[in-house]
């Protein structure tokens, strides 16, 4: 299923973009459940370093991942622009904490190029591809890879 989703994603779709550790990244909007700013996060001692904690999202326990740390960049700094991007993965909701949200970008398949081995200090395996816009490069995240334990 995930494979299918990815493919349709690359066929020209909407991407929600956001900043994390200075890099501009995007996720196919179809993967996103919601974007919120709940920060009543409960820390989970003994968990992996990139786990920010857990959150009550309307009765479900959602794990929040500090995307900055996960991608090997600087941890997300606390600011009023912080957002949780809640994505759906393997029947579970998982939150990605990002520095700030940017625009929704519409792109054609043709605009997406294969990811190089390294984008701005982030390993290439985390990306499905790179989207070039007039101004910037957007790294399109491979959600399955990012959410691997």
């Amino acid at each position: 299923m995930a494979q299918e989703r990815k493919e349709t994603a690359l066929e020209g779709n909407e991407f929600s973009t956001f900043y994390v550790g200075g890099a501009l990244c995007g996720i196919n909007i179809l993967n996103i459940q919601e974007i919120n700013k709940h920060f009543e996060i409960t820390k989970v001692p003994q968990s992996s370093e990139y786990i920010k904690g857990i959150l009550n999202l309307r009765g479900r326990i959602v794990t929040i991942i500090d995307l900055g740390k996960k991608l090997g960049l600087a941890p997300v700094e606390k600011s009023k622009d912080n957002r949780n991007i809640i994505v759906n993965s393997e029947d579970e909701h998982i939150g990605l904490l990002v520095d700030s949200i940017a625009d929704v970008v519409i792109a054609d398949q043709a605009d997406i190029e294969p990811a190089p081995s390294n984008i701005g200090g982030v390993k290439g395996k985390y990306f499905q591809g790179v989207l070039k816009t007039d101004k910037e490069l957007i790294g399109i995240l491979n959600i399955d890879e990012v959410l691997k334990e």
Binding site: E40, V44, P45, S47, S48, I51, I54, N56, I61, I94
Partner: protein, 1079 residues
């Protein structure tokens, strides 16, 4: 095969439901033997029949066939033509087992080879039928309808049987489209409603008349049911609710020998025809003619004498069936738009309609209350808001309970199958066993029910295999040769209890202990300190087995650790009790559900953590002032002394690596807490010696710090949740203890699965998430075993320290505000608070009415030079018991109990009724001699002792050898021995006493000794006395300040005759007099 997911699923569920009770019914039939309970047989018969009925329609040929054969045998039993014996029931049981397996793997069921079962069943049927009928059993006939269509392959035996019973046989043709689908019915429902008025012999869907895609558009899919009933043809139309033209009465003329069978002569053995011709035929996926021919050549090639079908004979029809399915799919798709993927096994649950109604009502009420709440909030009406919040609170609780009930399943679902397990096992092992099951109605959460199945099976097998002896052994032991296993379930204290008790040979604690030692699981020393129960519980240790030979049935002990782990993982407890030769009881306690658990909420830093109530023993709070005294450090671990036992402490913050913070009150920011040791209050420094003992911190340092202490005062106290899980018991140190709450367990995401410290998470009232602690895993994470070792060491250390001085339990109180007193706690009966107005003064003595009698009251100023008590409305009274009589000492609070090292100054402040003084909590405290006090007040109470003393004076004094190292006790005890007329020889330690004894053995009548003494302790002294025949006749009475179990055990071994607590004068003197046969 039928491809409608929903209908198939419904069929499977219903069939499994039918099968659920069959086992116990069959076993009951077996027990009944010749006295056949027709109702019972009917139950089973109907079950088999219903399964068969549905299977025909679904195209589940194998299932249909098996059910059919089972039905035949049951029919014979029902008509009293066959006596069910053990062997026959076994075959039936196996048949039904197979049926269940087939139903559970429905997709492959048609390919399963069941010839073994069919053979066995067929043989039973054949053997009990008269010769001429035998052939009909395997004979199949086709039913030819007026319009030329045929209903193929019906068992002639069946038809004849129903005709003989006087029933009419009908072929009813429903139309799947118009009669069933359009009327929003369901084929299975139609079948079950038909079964109320008669018997379904067979059913099928007539796909042939549907035609092909090329032909006329389809408007009818006939669903044919062959039905036997006592109803007349005229009535049938109304019964079936369809047009008369589709109801055909069947008579003999319409029967013709089955076409496909005609191809190969009726086989002598049933195997072939079962396996071959019928496999594809009644399938609803009835193929086009070329395909239907396919299996026939296969049938013909089979040798007529086959006992097992040739493999290819089975394969071919299977392959053919596969082709058919493909072919028919388009038609089926048109017939039913719901065609979907193959049936997935989905777990579903039966819920009583009443319960659903309750849920609906509650949901309705919840909506109403929500509306009220919204209204209340909008209009800022706090009263209305409060009211509706109360309502919502109530409804939620009810809703929770109702929803929980939907998950509840009677435990009978799993207990019942043990009848079979015990039956089969005991037959294998040649044992006679009765299984009694009680409390089948007890309900448990579905998940728990499913998870206790395996542990219970293991325990039952153990009881059968190892618990119950063989009939011969039992007779030799004078027991009933039939063993008894009782399996009982009941509710108790919000938990479900399951008890498995057998009257077998029981467990031998010593054998278990020896085995555990030889396997290196425990040490000699550990075992020595264990009670029998603890020894038996060693079988729960991993890697333990006492069975001399491990049988294939079960090895007792093998897997007992798994059993206990399984049960504990469900939040349950397993306990063991056994009397060798008498039997074993195993008790399992389980929570009702796993979804909602009562928990203690605690917090560390700003986060809350829930501790499941099942793990919680008690809560402990050590006030700031006592932290230093109560917390000790053993090695690296902190321990606290709790009622004489050392409890290892785990600091939750340390185990989890939580960075401890506190709110700095000056600027309201979080600061890290730098406190390192639990005993370090507010950074106060302790000098720690190499042995780990904490030395007294300097008081001035403390005083300096306290001014600048920025933290809440309460935070300086230690809050401890005393928890236990399995073998672990420890104190969990947290920052705060909150309320106990019922929490809803929520699973955590996959990224947190490896954090074993948590059992899940929950959402608190304020919407924040709290983690639920896994007490057992926490202990493992902290390597608590090392802590346990440390506490062992601490115990040793402790004992050494005890030996150095005497610790006694005292009750402290005051007379006037400035006068502090203490009395031995063991003489105290209780403490009362009475109204001063109720005190009566009679004849110069004060009394108070108490439980119908008069309790004499006195105060210290009556006997010695102390201030009178201040006047108050209420009066605290310490009630002592002396000479079996109670008397109350009026005192001023606070009254407190404590344990102190006795360092008594017996001279400075000595006076009447005061044995000495000591410093307790920085106050000079006088030790009250209750005995002397009473004697001064009521000399007449002691007349008996005076008599004995007088008698001794005449007949010659008795001489006591008294060894005691503490001068205070020596004088104390000596003085009251002398008062009672004894002569005392004193010794300061065991060594001196031993020397004295050697010199003056002829004079000495009895030995009284302290246990803890320098040079030679009481144990060694006693051992010496008892080992030497010159002295062994002497009674030895041991005096001790705190008698522990271990001490008493040790003392008994060396030959101590009696134990007495120091300061209990009355008892000690009585024991001495008794030992010397005085009074």
């Amino acid at each position: 095969m039928f491809e409608d997911d929903e209908t198939l699923q419904m069929y499977i569920e219903e069939s499994l439901d039918h099968l659920a009770d069959i086992e116990s019914d069959l076993l009951a039939i077996e027990e009944g033997g010749e006295n056949i309970d027709v109702d019972l047989v009917n139950n089973v018969f109907r079950a088999a029949h219903s399964i068969k009925g549905g299977a025909g329609f679904m195209g589940l040929t194998t299932i249909k066939e098996l059910a059919h054969y089972l039905e035949n045998v049951l029919g014979l039993i029902r008509n009293l033509e066959l006596v069910p014996d053990s062997a026959k029931i076994s075959i039936l049981l196996k048949g039904f087992d197979q049926l269940e397996t087939l139903l559970k793997e429905i997709e492959t069921s048609n390919d399963v080879d069941i010839s073994e079962h069919l053979n066995a069943l067929e043989n039973i049927t054949m053997a009990s039928l008269p010769e001429e009928k035998q052939s009909t059993v395997s004979e199949l006939v086709d039913i030819q309808l007026d319009d030329g269509r045929i209903f193929p392959q019906v068992s002639l035996y069946d038809i004849n049987r129903y005709v003989e019973e006087g029933k009419n046989i009908f072929l009813v043709e429903y139309d799947l489209i118009n009669d069933i689908h359009r009327k929003e019915k369901n084929p299975i429902e139609v079948l079950s409603s038909l079964q109320k008025t008669g018997t379904i012999i067979d059913s099928r869907i007539d796909f042939e008349s549907v035609g092909t895609l090329e032909g006329q558009p389809i408007n009818r899919i006939p669903f044919q049911v062959l039905f036997a009933s006592i109803i007349e043809y005229d009535m049938a139309e109304t019964l079936f609710d369809i047009n008369k033209q589709y109801v055909h009465a069947i008579n003999d003329d319409m029967l013709s020998t089955s076409a496909s069978q005609a191809a190969g002569e009726p086989a002598p053995m049933p195997v072939q025809e079962n396996t071959i011709p019928s496999t594809p035929e009644p399938s609803p996926a009835q193929p086009a003619p070329p395909v239907v021919e396919a299996p026939q050549p296969a049938a013909q090639t089979v040798e007529p004498v086959v006992e097992q079908p040739a493999p290819d004979a089975v394969q071919q029809p299977a392959a053919a069936a596969a082709v058919q399915t493909q072919r028919v799919e388009p038609a089926a798709a048109q017939a039913d738009s719901q065609v979907s993927m193959s049936a997935k096994p989905q777990s579903s649950l039966r819920v009583h309609v009443n319960l659903l109604d309750t849920l609906m009502n509650l949901a309705g009420e919840l909506v109403l209350s929500r509306n009220q709440l919204l209204q209340g909030i909008n209009s800022s009406n706090s009263k209305a808001t409060e009211l509706s919040s109360q309502r919502i609170d109530m409804i939620t609780s009810e809703l929770q309970e109702a929803i929980m009930r939907t998950r509840m399943q009677p435990i009978a679902n799993i207990l019942n199958k043990f009848t079979r397990v015990v039956r089969d096992l005991s037959q294998d092992l040649g044992k006679l066993i009765d299984l009694v099951i009680e409390g089948k109605d007890v309900e448990l959460d579905k998940t728990i029910l499913e998870s206790i199945n395996d542990p219970l099976t293991h325990l039952i097998r153990n009881s059968v295999d190892h618990g119950i002896e063989t009939p011969m052994e039992r007779e030799q032991m004078g027991k009933d040769p039939t063993g008894r296993i009782i399996l009982k379930a009941f509710h108790d204290a919000g938990q479900v209890n399951i008890v498995i008790s057998d009257d077998g040979r029981g467990l031998n604690p010593n054998k278990i202990a020896d085995a555990a030692i030889s396997k290196g699981l425990v040490t000699d020393q550990q075992v020595a300190e264990m009670s029998d129960k603890q020894r038996m519980e060693l079988i729960f240790l991993p890697g333990f087995s006492t069975a001399a030979q491990v049988t294939d049935v079960s090895g007792r002990g093998v897997g007992m650790d798994v059993v206990s782990t399984n049960i504990e993982s469900l939040g349950g407890i397993i306990e063991l009790d056994s009397t060798p030769g008498k039997g074993t009881d195993i008790q399992i306690k389980l929570p009702l559900t796993l979804a909602i658990i009562p928990s203690q909420i605690t917090s560390v830093g700003n986060e809350r953590y829930a501790v499941p109530q099942v793990n919680l023993n008690e809560l402990l709070r050590i006030p700031a002032a006592q932290v230093k005294d109560k917390i000790e450090k053993v090695g690296d671990a902190d321990v606290v002394r709790l009622r004489g036992e050392l409890l290892p402490l785990l600091n939750l913050a340390e185990v989890l690596g939580i960075e401890k913070t506190f709110i700095d009150e000056t600027d309201n920011t979080e600061r890290p807490d730098r406190r390192k040791n639990l005993a370090d209050r507010r950074s106060r420094k302790h000098d720690i010696t190499e042995s780990g003992e904490i030395l007294e911190g300097s008081a001035t340092d403390h005083a300096n710090r306290s001014d600048s202490d920025r933290r809440y005062r309460a935070a300086s106290a230690l809050n401890i949740a005393v928890v236990s899980a399995g073998a672990f018991k420890y104190g969990l140190v947290v920052d705060k203890l909150h309320d106990s709450e019922e929490i809803v367990v929520k699973p955590v995401g996959r990224h947190l699965k490896k954090c074993t410290a948590y059992a899940g998470a929950t959402i608190m009232g304020d919407g924040k998430v709290a983690l639920i602690l896994d007490i057992s895993n926490l202990a493992q994470m902290a390597e608590l075993s090392t802590v346990n070792e440390a506490s062992q060491k601490a115990k040793a250390l402790e004992e050494e320290r005890d030996a150095a001085g005497d610790k006694v339990a005292l009750l402290t109180f005051k007379n006037s505000e400035s006068e502090h007193f203490a009395a031995p706690l063991n003489l105290v009966e209780r403490i009362e608070r009475i109204q001063t107005s109720t005190i009566e003064e009679i004849g110069g003595k004060k009394v108070v009415q108490y439980r119908g009698g008069a309790l004499p009251l006195f105060e210290l100023s009556q006997v010695a030079d102390f201030q009178p008590l201040p006047d108050k409305d209420q009066q605290e009274v310490i009630v002592f018991k002396v000479k079996d009589r109670e008397l109350g000492l009026m005192v001023t609070p606070p009254v407190d109990a404590l344990e102190v090292m006795l360092e008594v100054d017996a001279s400075t402040l000595k006076q009447t009724a005061i044995s000495g003084s000591m410093i307790i909590n920085e106050h000079t405290t006088l030790l009250v001699d209750i005995f002397e006090l009473v004697k001064t007040l009521n000399p007449s109470w002691f007349s008996a002792e005076a008599e004995v003393a007088a008698e001794m004076a005449e007949t010659g004094e008795k001489i006591i050898l008294f060894a005691e190292d503490s001068a205070f006790f020596r004088n104390q005890v000596k003085s009251f021995m002398q008062e009672d007329g004894f002569k005392v020889i004193e010794a300061e330690d065991g060594q001196i006493a031993w020397e004295l004894l050697k010199e003056r053995v002829d004079e000495i009548d009895i030995v009284v000794t302290d246990l803890e003494m320098p040079n030679m302790d009481g144990f060694e002294f006693t051992q010496k006395i008892k080992a030497d025949p010159t002295y062994s006749h002497l009674s030895v009475i041991a005096l001790t300040s705190l008698a522990s179990e271990a001490h008493i055990e040790k003392g008994k071994k060396v030959g101590i005759d009696e134990y007495q607590i120091k300061l209990d004068r009355e008892k000690l003197m009585n024991v001495i007099r008794k030992a010397l046969n005085l009074a």
